[in-house]
């Protein structure tokens, strides 16, 4: 399959670009909800608009009422989200939770998919335990209790946790904390007894929670997939999240880069446009090539994931690490090349820097993923 978008995908990209540039623009969404101190950190009206375009069901099969598309298409939407810094639960709900629900029972799908498709529901993932993304180690326990399970443990960096109607929780039903096997995924409703969340606002104005589970009682039908066999589903959810975050990072990088090159063509110093200085031109040109390469790696990973290739794991980590590197460079160069005004809240370039920082941590940073590339390569 060629590594560029098909005609259908290019049409989707046009739609997503227009939609996000109009409705999801920085002033309209990110700044607005930040400035009013919104407890969700995003707007539900916009989320309904996502649903009206069918985007909330982008990864949901046609049989289940969705668009039945793949990671390439989800990535197209995410790149536009990144470019406009649009706050939304798209990545956690429509990409990651939807990937988990694809393996769920008809009962669970019936309970949660309609809300996703209509844009009434928001979902979150409770995977990380601790400050860094280390999903190889899961200590949260689920022990058999009555007809179901009792969950206890703590989760961190639960993005959109306090806004979520349902949380996908990864817990251990067997084995030791570091075992690959013995994991089970649960669909946990927000209002269940024993679940508490401590909401925190992050540097990019998005909301996450520290989540506690104290003997949370769940029926057996809350299990997504197989008991003790959740690692495979979890890996699929992680891949979806990582490649999705990579696509969003590419968008962040591109948005920041476009702002910066525009500025280089406007700002005058020493009687010249600063874009005439070779010291800046070469840095901009280098950055251009890094972003292009990151986008190529991301599309490659999306395609391999959609094709179910055994090389997908490796490329997903390459994409997450490379997109993270490119975006990090893009925002740093962006602020530096804007000079003093790059430090002001009035200019958007700093917002890109903040979003990049949060996105870098989400689902593993470049160091985690470079290490994973090494391990998958046998060193």
């Amino acid at each position: 399959m060629p590594l560029y978008h098909t005609e259908d995908q290019a049409m989707l990209a046009d739609t997503a670009r227009q939609f996000m540039a109009d409705e999801g623009a920085i002033a309209r969404q990110l700044r607005h909800f930040r400035d009013i101190g919104c407890k969700d950190g995003f707007g539900h009206t916009l989320w309904k608009q996502f649903a009206e375009l069918g985007l909330t069901g982008i990864l949901v099969s046609e049989g289940d009422g969705g668009l039945g598309m793949g990671h390439v298409e989800a990535g197209i939407v995410l790149e536009e989200i990144g470019r406009n810094l649009t706050p939304s639960p798209f990545l956690t709900s429509a990409v990651m939770a939807a990937s988990a629900l694809a393996d769920a029972s008809a009962e669970l799908k019936g309970r949660y998919l309609p809300g996703l498709l209509s844009g009434d529901s928001v979902f979150a993932l409770a995977i990380d335990e601790g400050k860094k993304h280390r999903p190889e180690r899961i200590a949260t326990r689920a022990v058999r209790s009555g007809n179901g399970f009792s969950l206890s443990g703590a989760k961190d960096f639960v993005v959109h946790g306090s806004s979520a109607d349902m949380l996908v929780v990864a817990a251990r039903t067997a084995g030791a904390d570091d075992d690959a096997e013995g994991i089970t995924l649960f669909a946990v409703p927000r209002d269940v007894a024993g679940l508490s969340q401590d909401a925190v606002r992050l540097v990019d104005s998005s909301m996450a929670t520290h989540l506690r589970l104290d003997n949370v009682q769940l029926d057996a039908d809350a299990v997504i997939g197989e008991v003790d066999g959740g690692r495979e589903v979890l890996d699929r959810v992680l891949s979806a999240g990582r490649v999705g975050a990579a696509a969003e990072s590419v968008g962040v990088a591109q948005g920041s880069f476009d702002m910066t090159t525009t500025y280089l063509k406007q700002r005058k110093q020493f009687g010249k446009l600063i874009g005439e200085f070779q010291a800046l031109q070469h840095r901009a040109a280098h950055l251009y090539s890094e972003i292009e390469i990151a986008r190529a790696a991301t599309i490659k990973a999306q395609q391999l994931l959609d094709a179910g290739s055994d090389k997908a794991d490796l490329m997903v980590s390459v994409a997450k690490a490379k997109a993270g590197k490119a975006a990090s460079l893009a925002v740093k160069e962006g602020v530096q090349m804007h000079g003093g005004i790059g430090m002001t809240d009035e200019y958007d370039i700093g917002l890109y820097m903040k979003r990049d920082r949060a996105l870098a941590e989400f689902m593993g940073d470049m160091f985690y993923h470079a290490d994973r590339v090494a391990k998958l390569s046998g060193y």
Partner: protein
Amino acid sequence: MSELEAFRQEIRAWLEENCPPEMRQPVHDEDDICWGGRHFQFKNEAQKLWLTRCAAKGYTVPDWPQAYGGAGMSPAQAKVWREEMNRIAARPPLSSFGIWMLGPALLKFGTEEQKVHYLGQIARGEIRWCQGYSEPGSGSDLVSLQTFGEDKGDHWVVNGSKIWTSYANKADWIFCLVRTDKANKYQGISFLLFDMESEGVSTKPILLISGYSPFCETFFDNVKVPKAQIVGELNRGWDVAKYLLGHEREMISGAGGGDRLTTIGAVLNRAGLEDPLLRAELAMFDVDALAYGAMGEKFLDEIKVGKAHPAQPNMMKYAGTELNKRRYELLMAGGGSASLEWESEASDGGSRARGWLRTKANSIEGGTSEVMLNVISKRILDLPGA
């Protein structure tokens, strides 16, 4: 079965039948590369057989038209061809500047007669070409070149010298930038083709830091070039040169990536990796290299259907060559003192150290990294005054 799948089966069966087992071994040294030409010494029968069989089917240049010695494959078919070649690790039957550089320029700018004549020779591996571009006083500032062709009615008389002419001492013909109008800088250069056995042509190899001499100085002393041997219009050779440089940059950029998934960390790990900081550097490098591999694939896919930015080869060249230099820095560090050996059998005649030194030219030849960044700034980013 789709048409493309049927095509794949056909190619697979043909390769199975026709690619000699010796040609499915990795390229080990310079001798293993078949460059073709009047004086080419085949390393073995298999190399010769592989060239002959491929040339007969047009497979040395699969996507060129059949009329000019190719197989007339569509972009999708050519990709299948590459994939099937990679699947059995087959060596390219023929490598040449004719295929990579002159061929594409002739396809775009050549007359019908030139295409039939020269492209056919290239496809069959009969003539080995070299490129006469840089001059002692004209490196990055190529357009200042001074080699002059004096108009003598039905021919030019060429005088001057070129430098960094790759394999000039082994080439049969040269494609050469020659000034034909001293008053016009850009529109005073013509793109001429001539035989290296012409009277007045001489070459002198240049010894490099790697200990090899792949480049030559090339001298022209009253060389007679018939008027029919011009490509494109008189004084418009710069257009041809720029087009061709794009292909050269594509070729050099290929050195850094390609559609492969073997990581350098895995290669070095076979000999043991004890240093955690080196491992970390390797991992970060492998991320960049694998990502660049995807970029290479995307770039090829896009260029075949005209979706790539016309100046994108400059980005590929820049990123690919910088990556290749980093690769060799890490290989040297990973190899420790063993990689310093220059002549021993164990070091295969110092192949790693020589290879490391060779890579330093990657970001100089065919346009320096700095020139590439200038071109990206101007043509892709549209930055002012660039």
